[in-house]
């Protein structure tokens, strides 16, 4: 058993890895390609950074391709992203042209690899048009949507639908996100990698050292939100919650995040956050590079309470990361956060800054309950949201796509 598999087995148990290996063996010799729009920054890139090596360690032939685009293309896909999450507005004619042209250039560049593959996973709307541009494809294509598309801007959804309805299957994180499409729509949650820099246990004292290097004193409890500077993550709402809670308890707030290369809007949101936090010595806004995984690990490890007060959330992997580190999480009552946080079991779901402030006060006042919820939190992630489970479901989907018969109970 390769070393990597043995290391995962130490976390999830050898029987889980044995079972995954049996499933992977059924796909041996098949060529699998993942395509997304960025190598760094954001949950998709992180998942693929773990899933691709793990798949290879299991003996699978897997590669990862990234589409290339100019700023106009990424402005277009950011509009797509926002509109699919319900923001009003639509694509301009120029943006539609940029999307078509960039897709065409990427189809030329990646065509050979993609047409030869047995299975292609296309992640999110950015590379979705590749399917229609590669008529010589021989494999099965799956569109993996990581976004909360429960209430999309209808005109933008029609634009995306035109590109994805030809796929063999699609994957959504939650049933609420599934949209009418003429193919199988699977429901598979994303996951975190327990062996990645972001999630491995740290050396004793490392969290304290990182806080010190970042200029954040640990003289009082830290409330932390880690996420991109994105309006749907509601960083201004987090600051408001903090200010309400601070009237009752002494604490610090750390807002840590960075931008992804495919997110041109993050700069504007960061400016708003910095203005809101200006002159407040207890609010620390940290702009981190996309590869600051160990730093984020330290921030999460050293925090007393973690927040993810999103107003829209595809899944919320920062919630998963914090739960894994035994931190109860206060999260927005939306999207994938609903699946991860169970009130009073491993955190609280909230709908307003006032509600969040109340829960901050509660968790800081009840240390024993906070620790108990932290233990629940880690176990819940162990059983449900680790990369090994997600890969198992992806591979099962590929097997199901190729296994004949319409029975819902099938021997393979």
């Amino acid at each position: 058993m390769p070393d990597m598999i043995a290391r995962y087995a130490e976390v999830v148990g050898p029987h889980t890895m044995d079972s995954l290996k049996i499933i992977a063996d059924m796909l041996r010799g098949k060529r699998i390609v993942h395509v997304n729009s960025t190598k760094e920054g954001g949950g998709v890139a992180e998942i693929l950074s773990s899933m691709v090596p793990l798949s290879r360690a299991l003996g699978l032939d897997v590669s990862w391709e990234v589409i290339e685009g100019n700023p106009e293309f990424f402005a277009c896909t950011k509009t797509l992203h926002n509109s699919l999450q319900g923001m009003p507005g639509g694509l301009s004619e120029g943006q539609v042209e940029a999307y078509a042209e960039t897709s065409r250039l990427n189809a030329l560049r990646l065509g050979g690899t993609l047409e030869d593959a047995d299975y292609v996973f296309i992640h999110d709307p950015q590379p979705a048009a590749l399917l229609g541009l590669l008529p010589g494809r021989r494999g099965k294509w799956i569109w993996r949507c990581h976004i909360d598309v429960s209430s999309p801007n209808r005109s933008v959804w029609r634009f995306v639908k035109k590109h994805v309805e030809g796929y063999d299957a699609s994957i959504f994180s939650l049933p609420d996100f599934a949209q009418p499409l003429p193919h199988t729509q699977c429901l598979i949650t994303p996951s975190i990698d327990p062996l990645s820099d972001k999630n491995i246990p740290l050396q004793k004292g490392e969290a304290e050292r990182v806080y010190g290097e970042l200029g954040v004193p640990l003289d009082k409890p830290v409330v932390l939100q880690v996420s991109r500077f994105d309006r749907f993550k509601d960083p201004l709402g987090v600051i408001e919650s903090f200010r309400i809670a601070r009237k009752h308890v002494d604490l610090r707030l750390v807002l840590a995040g960075g931008g992804a290369t495919d997110d041109p809007e993050s700069g504007a949101v960061l400016d708003e956050v910095q203005r809101a936090a200006a002159q407040d010595p207890d609010i620390h806004v940290l702009v981190l590079p996309p590869d600051a995984h160990r730093t984020i690990n330290a921030l999460q490890t050293g925090a007393a309470v973690v927040m993810q007060k999103s107003t829209k959330e595809g899944f919320g992997l920062t919630v998963t990361e914090a739960l894994w580190k035994k931190k109860p999480v206060i999260g927005g009552d939306v999207g994938g956060i609903r699946l991860q946080i169970i009130n009073r079991f491993n955190g609280f779901r909230v709908r307003s800054p006032e509600g969040a402030a109340m829960r901050i006060r509660y968790l800081l006042a009840h240390r024993w309950k906070r620790e108990r919820m932290g233990v629940n939190a880690r176990q819940y992630v162990l059983e449900n949201f680790l990369i090994t489970g997600q890969l198992r479901r992806y591979l099962s989907l590929l097997i199901a796509l190729d296994s004949p018969g319409g029975e819902w109970e099938r021997w393979i």
Binding site: I23, F345, S396
Partner: protein, 264 residues
């Protein structure tokens, strides 16, 4: 790849064997053989461990009210009934859940109808002869509740019930044990999905409501009677899958420490 796959029909206990490439060959184990001279390993039918993977899919059916739920129920695929009663064991859930199926949980959390939730939660799906009977029982309860008219006619738009379908992919692990000692160790180290297949889903597949482990242990006769009773008495609704496995392993461990594995 030979081996034995436990499967039972309503009329008799049967061990279906030599599962290979989806072909099942039946080997009947007579009662005489099961209840006598089973201490010699050569005569034992081995236990072959299977595994499964549950692939969940959207049906597109979503409802907001009790009336909509009742109207949609006949159109839901049978795998959806399975998923909302059994599939919950293989997805994020906590043992502290108040209700044992998704219909009951939704009646409480979305409709705020605790009385209906309790009625729905009282359904013991494993007692039904099949998934269609589970559906019929559900329909009867909903009809009775709607007839009484004491339900909310509205609810918030973001608390819909989504009918989710599933495909259960089952596969052979190739792992086979013949002795009780090896069996106990194999149960301890088998995957949660494999455990689900044999212990939880086995009860549904069995006409007598017996899990695969209990059915296999019958061949050891009276020596395993108490063990089988213990295994059958675990209430699978009250624990998470991980907790259930721990409990079953503990029962098997106690049996082994008491010398049962050697004496059976």
């Amino acid at each position: 790849m030979g081996g034995l796959f436990l499967y039972r029909r309503a009329d008799s206990d049967i061990l279906l064997g030599a599962f290979q490439h989806g072909i099942r060959q039946g080997v009947e184990i007579g009662r005489k053989r099961r209840y006598s001279q089973m201490t010699e390993n050569a005569n034992l039918v081995p236990f072959r461990f299977m595994d499964c993977s549950l692939l969940t899919t959207s049906t597109g059916l979503r409802v907001q009210s009790l009336r909509e739920l009742r109207a949609a129920l006949p159109a839901a695929p049978v795998s959806s009934i399975y998923y909302h009663f059994w599939g919950r064991m293989l997805r994020p859930h906590i043992a502290e859940s108040e209700y044992n199926n998704d219909f009951a949980s939704w009646a409480d959390s979305a409709l705020g109808d605790a009385e209906l939730a309790e009625e729905l939660s009282a359904i013991n799906a494993a007692d039904c002869s099949g998934l269609e009977e589970v559906r019929a029982v559900l329909e009867d309860i909903l009809d009775a509740h709607l007839d009484r008219g004491d339900f909310l006619s509205w609810k918030k738009g973001d608390r819909e019930f989504h009918f989710i379908a599933c495909t259960k992919l089952m596969f052979d692990t190739g792992r086979e044990v013949s002795s009780l000692r090896d069996f106990i160790e194999a149960v301890r180290t088998t995957s949660l999905q494999s455990f689900f297949h044999h212990y939880i889903d086995g009860r549904r597949r069995s006409a007598e409501g017996k899990d695969d482990f209990t059915a296999w242990l019958e061949q050891f006769g009276a020596g395993t009677e108490r063990l089988r009773t213990s295994l059958q008495s675990v209430d699978t609704y009250l624990f998470s899958l991980g907790e259930l496995k721990t409990q079953v392993v503990s029962i098997l461990g106690r049996f082994s420490r008491g010398g049962g594995a050697e004496n059976a």
